[in-house]
Symmetry: C2
């Protein structure tokens, strides 16, 4: 209802008997316009309820003041917080956010890249999907759209990256478990070829090596992320695998998991077997999800700087976007940053430390 045609510059111009572009200049704050005229124009714009049309604007300016955000799946609290931080920071800088979800599918990934290109976004933040080589991201970047990878690094692609220092996080968590008395430590990681998993495994191994411990064990949890988005974070498989570990012949002193959700499965498997978490078997997680502190016993875990990552990534992207115009000092190498994660020690690993 109501005449839903939007108010345009022309309407204001006509109503005031001035030219369209005087109105434009008045409203965009250009100087070359009389004080009094400007006041009249602003008043009329207000009265008519004028809102600028970004499409038209972007068509001529070439920039839509939009950044793309490509995420695999927001149900991971880590990504959810990332989204918050990014949206907030982006909006503060005047940018709107176009959200694309890939659900870990290579098609989704490709589509997202395509969509971002169509919309000619000013820049994009992307968590690359697991499959494929991410070459389309490189192409998008080459097409002149600044890109920053989030959380997952595409190491051989010379793309900016902001993520977590998972290697160090895993190293310290593992060292802590060892310091708490664990001699045999098992790591459960999702079976996904992405840098965070690889980095955590590396950190885990380094810690054990440093401690002179052999017989490390890495257990792969089959990922279900590729199947369904309904159940993206199921502790079920971790539970099953933990049961196998418990039933096996060499019960580890400690179990480290790549993800707090897995810890839930591990807790249950241990408890059902009559083992006490934090006593018989130590447990360490990753993510510091909201429930971690409230489990019984509370879960020792590595907190990820999600908000920092979001802010850092946006700022880096904005810098790249600006550097795009300044036709200088732009061709420096890819900027890869790993923000520190923080070990949060709780009851699930306290044996021996008091």
């Amino acid at each position: 209802m109501a005449d839903s045609r939007r108010v345009t510059l022309k309407d204001i111009a006509k109503s005031l008997g001035v030219s369209v572009n005087t109105v434009s200049r008045a409203l965009t704050g250009k100087d070359s316009v009389g004080e009094e005229t400007r006041a009249r124009i602003k008043a009329e714009a207000e009265r008519l309820g004028y809102v600028p049309n970004p499409m038209a604007r972007s068509l001529v300016l070439g920039s839509a003041m939009t950044i793309g955000l490509v995420i695999t799946n927001p149900s991971n609290p880590f990504y959810a917080r990332l989204i918050s931080a990014i949206e907030h920071r982006g909006r503060a800088a005047g940018y709107s956010l176009m959200l694309l979800l890939t659900e870990e599918s290579p098609d989704g990934d490709q589509n997202a890249a395509q969509t971002l290109l169509r919309w000619n976004v000013d820049g994009a933040l992307v968590v690359p999907a697991v499959q494929g080589d991410g070459e389309h991201w490189a192409r998008l970047s080459d097409a002149g759209i600044p890109l920053v990878c989030l959380n997952r690094d595409l190491a051989d692609l010379e793309l900016d990256y902001v993520g977590v220092d998972y290697e160090r996080g895993a190293y310290e968590a593992t060292r802590h478990l060892v310091a708490s008395g664990a001699r045999t430590v098992c790591l459960m990681e999702e079976d996904l070829p992405i840098s965070p998993v690889a980095d955590r495994i590396a950190g885990f191994r380094r810690a054990l090596a440093d401690a002179g411990l052999t017989g490390e064990r890495v257990v792969s949890v089959p990922t279900r992320r590729l199947e369904s988005l309904a159940l993206p974070w199921e502790p079920a498989d971790a539970y099953r695998l933990a049961q196998e570990i418990v039933r096996g012949d060499r019960l580890p002193d400690a179990i480290m998991v790549g993800n707090d959700y897995f810890a839930l499965g591990v807790y249950r498997a241990l408890t059902e077997a009559g083992l006490r978490v934090g006593e018989d078997v130590l447990v360490g997680g990753f993510g510091d999800h909201p429930f971690a502190a409230y489990l019984n016993p509370s879960l020792t875990t590595v907190a990820l700087p999600s908000a920092d990552i979001g802010v850092t990534a946006v700022d880096l992207l904005l810098r790249r976007m600006k550097g795009q115009d300044d036709h200088d000092r732009d061709h420096d190498r890819a900027d890869k940053r790993r923000l520190p994660a923080e070990l949060v020690v709780r009851a699930s690993s306290r044996r021996g430390v008091t």
Copy 2:
């Protein structure tokens, strides 16, 4: 690097010696164009790597094939899943998603409405922020942008709504607790004037009334959502309040909470007081968050149909958007739908039922 100017219709036209318009028709699948010409044009478009410019397109067509999604905070797993479902369904229908986060602030809410208006989105799905009367949403709707409210109903605004039948969910959960032997039941709800909370309280009261029980108790958990987005879902306050309940003189037989996170706080308070969850005090939650099934004891809770809500809301919105053009049968009343929630009975409420 590379000549980053985008390929346009004009480029193809020039390169082939035909008119811009023929190219447009060939590419958009209009019939009036020779088979052979079309083939040549398509090939050339492919070769040049042409991607259409939605800005230009939308400027003339009036539609940007974009829908807005306004959410208060994606860190709530319920909203995260909603986002997934909506993005998926929207993309399937060819729409891009513009994401706006309001963080429960009235300014954010207002800004979001403004931004959606500027972008002239084809429609919007919104979780209205708690404060304010939501009148700007009504205005946006009147301005000709179809709107569907998500999860929170603005009852007096004649806006479409898709949410959960919280009343019934709370009713059944409470009835279940009573059937499990609880005579005194306490409800902990977030202190927020939104329809889901009001509905759950109503359902809770009805169940107790039906059972002829008096002495119901509703405890308000002060919300922290308005303060910080860093800690949107803290069980801390629920924990504190549960402690007070435990220390009080009349320990309830059962505690019902409006949100699984609160249950975490309740679990801890009870456990620390030496009370057994599911034996001494029954506990029921809302949301069926991924951890619910893995708590010890596993949490009885009400599962919310998040994916259904997303799909239903998008479909409803698409219908409204279509009805927008057909200048008929559009002025029917607001469509308000409450999808059924499902009680999931687990160990935290099993006493007496075997």
